[in-house]
């Protein structure tokens, strides 16, 4: 990262993957060949992406540092910067600042079972960690992914489902709120599907991200399944500008999501005021 944390590095968008009708994944490479080599990050960290003349927005890194050279971020079209990104074509330029924030404490999870629970675009940060763990497969126990979206067309990263399913000791459980004629998987909300599957909390870490309402009910469901708060991790979203704890925007109580987070255990979340 540049010595000035407000100054982005220039990068070229190499490829844009249409994930869903409103979400695209951008694969970008830094213009500076040295930075392309040296840039690294941790699963769970985020970056600030610039479209010069429009502004900056915060996106988690959805790629894994085990596959260097390219940084990936998934963008749901909701506002000005995200719309400008969606109007881009391969070859266009963006600015990237980061990586910022903390990351999933995967080093403490060696030998444990991992349970990923994602909803919609909330799969983006989980995908970084999931691919990181699959690239270090021997370090972890069985891996289960429960992933849901509104409709089959709203599931992101579909091109990777087969890779995930075929990884050793790895299972993928998909669910949608509304199926269609071709849908073979489960129909129902993520927290309900989680209760149906009733995974054991024994030697397991659960990692969840999705819409705030989904996270809320997933946390409750995990507690019903006897997961301790220390076994549950999530990653939070708040409006951010600087990413470095100065602009005063993303705090929850005394914690800044940009520097103390975005990754929090449920035990840590319970210590914070109920702002999220």
């Amino acid at each position: 990262m540049a010595a000035n944390p407000y100054q982005p590095d220039l990068a070229t968008v190499e490829e844009i993957i249409e994930e869903t009708p409103d979400t695209r994944t951008f694969r970008a490479v830094f213009r500076d060949p040295e930075l392309r080599e040296s840039f690294t990050y941790e699963p769970g960290q985020f970056q600030e992406v610039s479209v010069f003349g429009v502004g900056e927005a915060t996106f988690c890194l959805t790629s894994t540092p085990t596959r260097p050279g390219v940084v990936e971020f998934s963008v749901k079209q909701v506002g000005q910067v995200t719309t400008a990104l969606h109007e881009m074509s391969p070859g266009d330029m963006v600015g990237i600042r980061g990586p910022f924030g903390n990351w999933f404490p995967y080093g403490e999870w060696k030998g444990k079972r991992l349970l990923f629970i994602g909803g919609g675009i909330g799969m983006a940060p989980l995908r970084s960690l999931l691919n990181f763990c699959l690239d270090n497969r021997a370090d972890y126990g069985p891996i289960d992914l429960i992933y849901g979206a509104r409709t089959p067309q709203d599931l992101c990263f579909r091109s990777e489902f087969d890779d995930w399913r075929s990884a050793p000791d790895t299972r993928v459980f998909l669910t949608v709120d509304r199926g269609d004629e071709s849908w073979q998987g489960n129909v129902g909300f993520v927290p309900a599907y989680l209760m149906d599957l009733a995974p054991s909390p024994a030697n397991t870490i659960a990692i969840t991200c999705g819409p705030p309402i989904m996270i809320k009910y997933v946390l409750e469901s995990l507690e019903k399944l006897n997961f301790a708060p220390e076994q549950i991790y999530t990653t939070l979203e708040m409006k951010m500008k600087c990413g470095i704890g100065k602009c005063g925007r993303c705090n929850i109580g005394e914690k800044f999501v940009c520097i103390d987070g975005p990754v929090f255990s449920y035990a840590q979340l319970k210590e914070l005021p109920p702002e999220f």
Partner: protein, 345 residues
């Protein structure tokens, strides 16, 4: 190191100092409003007990500041840096609360995992001269949140009015250099005694304040939030005039030739879209949550984050709130509700 500056020699000292420093000090404009502005032989600082309307933070955290310029070039885009070196600046006539506010800003912008390079460059160029107040305005409550004499001694030089002259106490090597000007003379025992009278008066007025006790008293649910939110019109003047409020937005402006200026501009947690996210969710949707954020941040969160109380008791928010939401009353209410007696505001 203590020296005496006869009042008539203030001009000589400033002329001497102007060879080394760009001079800033409180001056009054024609409409009677007061702000820190460049000084000259014809424009001397006003040294009295009245604080400036705008706080001194403008000198270290301008309300609008370019971060860099994006230049698309000729197929070779690049970022042109902004900021850089700043001329050594002497800021005169800072009230004790003004001096303390720089300490708070320093903790936010210089400490922690990231240092803010723009603030650091401006702050590094600044030498400060305090003016110790002899009495308080009706809206001042510095002595409820700390020791204003001690705060003044964090400035490079602290001036105290002792009648015919200013007793100047240098607290740093930069301050000692400033007192090397021939306009100063050795103070008499009477001068020192008079200074101590002013200091002691200010100290005697001080009501001890334990930031941790108030931090403990401020709860997530307070009846006070409803009371303030009912009056508050969300204008944000309390933050814009607050010497320690630091929140900013970052925006882009296209300035021609395809060039884009990225700048930061003052913002406030009191505005409704401050935390509103792109997809519409807003964790602080009403004034109640926004009032809670500002007061809790000043008296609780920043104490835990930076080890310093975020309020310096300058009273600008008290004096200029259009609906008279007096922070002192709010704090008294909170402390009373929680059965804590350590603060009287």
């Amino acid at each position: 190191m203590d020296r005496l500056l006869p009042k008539a020699a203030l001009k000589d000292w400033l002329e001497w100092a102007s060879a080394r420093y760009h001079l800033l000090g409180p001056v009054e404009s024609e409409d009677g409003s007061r702000a820190f502005a460049p000084l000259s032989q014809d424009r001397l600082p006003v040294l009295d007990n009245r604080r400036s309307c705008l706080p001194p933070k403008e000198a270290v955290l301008p309300s609008c500041e370019t971060l860099f310029t994006f230049d698309p070039g000729d197929g070779e885009p690049r970022l042109l840096p902004a900021g850089g070196e700043f001329a050594p600046t002497l800021m005169l006539g800072m009230k004790p609360c003004d001096v303390r506010s720089l300490e708070v800003l320093d903790r936010v912008f210089l400490d922690g995992r990231f240092q803010d390079p723009y603030y650091a460059a401006r702050r590094g160029s600044l030498v400060t001269v305090a003016y110790v107040c002899e009495s308080k305005r009706w809206s001042c409550f510095c002595s409820s949140v700390g020791d204003p004499v001690e705060w003044s001694l964090a400035a490079d030089v602290a001036l105290t009015d002792v009648g015919d002259g200013y007793l100047a106490s240098a607290n740093t090597s930069a301050g000692e250099e400033l007192l090397g000007c021939p306009a100063f003379r050795e103070p008499s025992g009477d001068d020192l005694a008079r200074r101590d009278v002013v200091w002691n008066a200010l100290r005697e007025a001080a009501e001890p304040f334990d930031p941790e006790a108030v931090a403990a008293a401020v709860d997530w649910e307070e009846p006070a939030w409803d009371a303030v939110a009912e009056k508050c019109i969300g204008c944000g003047v309390c933050s814009f005039l607050c010497p320690t409020c630091t929140c900013f937005d970052i925006q882009d402006e296209t300035i021609g030739g395809g060039r884009v200026e990225r700048f930061r501009v003052r913002d406030t947690c009191q505005f409704c879209d401050f935390t509103k996210m792109g997809h519409g969710h807003n964790p602080r949707p009403s004034r109640r949550e926004r009032v809670r954020q500002r007061i809790s941040h000043k008296f609780k969160y920043i104490v835990r984050q930076c080890g310093i109380c975020g309020c310096v008791g300058c009273g600008r928010c008290v004096e200029l709130c259009p609906v008279n939401a007096d922070l002192r009353g709010v704090l008294s209410e909170i402390v009373k509700e929680n059965g804590c007696e350590s603060v009287s505001a």
